[in-house]
Symmetry: C2
């Protein structure tokens, strides 16, 4: 072997999509698009390389400092490969929202990159579906976002009990830490970060961590009680007079009323342990969990982010939505055996009778195959023609078999003379002879 030959592997943690992988990806993307369009959402897109600054301020420290692929172009301009789709979306919106009829309902599918240790269900590159409503403040916007999430999950065949949409509101945390427990501002941020990690800890460990942050035992117990509460028991942790004035609490109540009326509340549950890591989350926060008992975990999530647009100007524009990754979704679908078997998109294989077997100078078999193919294509049928004039028919049919094409069209000397074709079903091995006209007329 020549040592200077290059590796055929892609960059570590990034994926090649061979045709069989691409069919699964297309299935996911097409399902995403179909459901978004059912709700009247419009598709948009923006460049995968973005000015570095738009991620620097709000995306969250871990991503920017440790995971961002960033560099300077040949003109010294600092760029980043996008690690998520929300900041670029808001950038585009800030540029044009005044001209657009509100509410604005947008979706996109885009590739993101993060420098992470590749592991199962997570690579350095992944696609996301980003779906947002801008310009509608009421919980009806969040309700529509929830409807889309549930519609997407059920469009993939997922059933109640296989996934669950867990909801909380950042303003409830503020009701607890600020209004009830009256912690100082910077301690609130630290406690909130610890609360985000609660689900990965034992109770004792969590309480000890809170103590380390300077919370009294009683205060720590109250935080833990909050983490375990339902909408009905919240008032045992947060006084009713604070709760009833809290916009987060009101939003969740409005949201669940709408979900109940639409018979969607069965997929959803209030869970105060939902926090989200993005600095721009500022109201309702939610995550969809895989309920697989062997591997229950968050698949994706979303939030209100009314203030993110302020990095581009002094605007006022309500914003809510989610981003769903292809990597974790694919794992979910595989785990629940929801991924269909994908077939080839090619229906017909058209053989070319070997020229050397031609006994008379009756014409060209290759051109005859091309003519058949041309007419099939004019009818919108996908077909492959053999490209060599001297290949044995058996070898050609083996190719059709290997590619799982259902019908092979064969035209030997006699068929060529009579303007007929043999149509062979490669699964049943049955074959029939038809005139060209009959064949084309009976195509469904």
């Amino acid at each position: 072997m020549n040592k200077q030959k290059l590796s055929t592997q892609p960059y570590k943690g990034a994926r090649d999509f061979y045709p069989e992988d691409m069919r699964a990806r297309n299935y996911i993307f097409e399902t995403w698009k179909k459901v978004c369009r059912l709700y009247g959402f419009e598709e948009y897109d923006f460049p995968i390389l973005e000015p570095f600054e738009i991620f620097a301020s709000k995306t969250g420290e871990e991503i920017v400092n440790e995971q961002l692929f960033s560099f300077e172009d040949k003109g010294g301009r600092k760029l980043a490969v996008r690690p998520e789709l929300t900041p670029g979306t808001v950038r585009m919106l800030a540029q044009k929202y005044k001209e657009l009829a509100q509410p604005i309902k947008w979706f996109m599918i885009g590739n993101n990159w993060r420098f992470e240790k590749p592991q199962l269900g997570r690579g350095r590159e992944f696609y996301q579906l980003e779906v947002n409503i801008f310009g509608e403040q009421s919980a009806a916007a969040d309700f529509e976002i929830f409807s889309i999430i549930i519609n997407i999950m059920t469009a993939f065949g997922a059933k109640q009990g296989q996934f669950e949409l867990l909801v909380s509101d950042r303003r409830l945390i503020s009701a607890l830490l600020n209004d009830t427990l009256k912690l100082e501002q910077d301690r609130q941020a630290k406690v909130r970060r610890m609360m985000d990690k609660r689900s990965k800890m034992q109770k004792e460990e969590f309480l000890a961590s809170l103590k380390e942050l300077g919370l009294s035992e009683k205060t720590g117990e109250q935080v833990e009680l909050f983490m375990q509460s339902t909408m009905e028991t919240l008032n045992t942790v947060i006084p009713v007079e604070i709760l009833s004035e809290n916009d987060g609490y009101k939003t969740i109540i409005d949201l669940f009323n709408l979900l109940k009326a639409a018979d969607l509340s069965k997929y959803c549950r209030f869970d105060p342990s939902i926090i989200r890591g993005f600095d721009y989350s500022d109201g309702l926060v939610y995550e969809v969990f895989d309920k697989n008992p062997k591997n229950s975990r968050s698949i994706f999530g979303g939030e209100r982010f009314d203030k993110l647009i302020n990095i581009f100007g002094d605007f006022d524009l309500a914003a809510t939505g989610f981003a769903m990754g292809d990597y974790t979704l694919l794992e979910f679908l595989k785990n629940w055996n929801l991924l269909p078997e994908f077939k080839t998109e090619t229906e017909y294989f058209i053989t070319v009778w070997p020229q050397e077997s031609q006994s008379t100078d009756s014409g060209d078999y290759f051109d005859y195959a091309q003519e058949i193919a041309k007419r099939l294509r004019e009818k919108g049928k996908n077909c492959i023609t053999w490209l060599n004039k001297n290949t044995k028919i058996e070898k050609q049919l083996k190719y059709a078999d290997k590619k799982s094409i259902l019908y092979s069209i064969i035209a030997g000397e006699q068929e060529f003379e009579n303007k007929t074709v043999i149509i062979k079903n490669m699964q049943t091995q049955k074959q029939e002879t038809k005139s060209l006209e009959d064949f084309f007329n009976t195509l469904y």
Copy 2:
């Protein structure tokens, strides 16, 4: 204005796709995919960030040295944002071609980046359709590639005379410079590069440049004569005994015979001035030209590249195909007025009767709108529901109008009571009342 606010512009030379731009892009991509699938080609994809080395050796000096976006990841691995799709395609193929049934027919659509001065019809980022056949050496493979090119162009509505496929073969240049004129190897490369620039020069300038490269006046005249020749007059420049043994000459003759039989030769012409800049072009080369008299220019091109795979191993695999950019294609379609008018994908707008106008406690108009929307969506109809319970109907209809949605569904107090709806055609302003059941039963 706050000076610290970020710019809402994308990175220079890169494009935001607002929904109206996205519709045009989707139209182009869908047409590309449809035609490729008609020929049984399968879609694949690979990461936009690739190991730097795979572009370093064969992509061509100008692109690698001046135009490549390249950088090191946090682990010191040198990466490049892909400037073209062929090397990555061949990398994927080299990894798996032994398992795949040949010929392999693949297509992909991908984003590329080059650090260029942004200008009309060319940005720093562009999409390409890459279409290739691997494993078929005969001119029939090139014929199929030509068929796809012509089918794509005509699928966009382009007619004979609006575009032309110009063809040559690198081996003919070798027949001239090496076999006929017997120039030294390194001078051949220089002359070839000058020939590539011929179309941008006057005849005198071209001859003077050849003289500068050390060619005699007579030799220079012969090169110029070659540049102007047809398949019929080639033998006045290159002796018949050289021509008849030349694989490039034979390939072009075979190719045109196939094109004639399929009635496609009218779109194609032999033109020895077609050279192509990629170092991996090693046989047939071709470019599609916009024939617009005001702006005749190359839109895209392709070639044989049988040897490119050798950078990954000592393989032997015939390869031919083209890459078509979205930027130049869009310019072509606009110039010839071939771009259709795109409509919204949303058919129905469902109003919510304002709650405050409700005289009895007869139920919830919002939920009624949701129920109608749900049933429309179950029938695969795209619809938008209004999300606010207290908006005047006039304002809601203005929104539907601005979004050019054809039908608005209105249900006031009486309709709600009677389980009927008013269907309003927003173009004709005509409206009719139907029972819910009638409405859903008469949907086409």
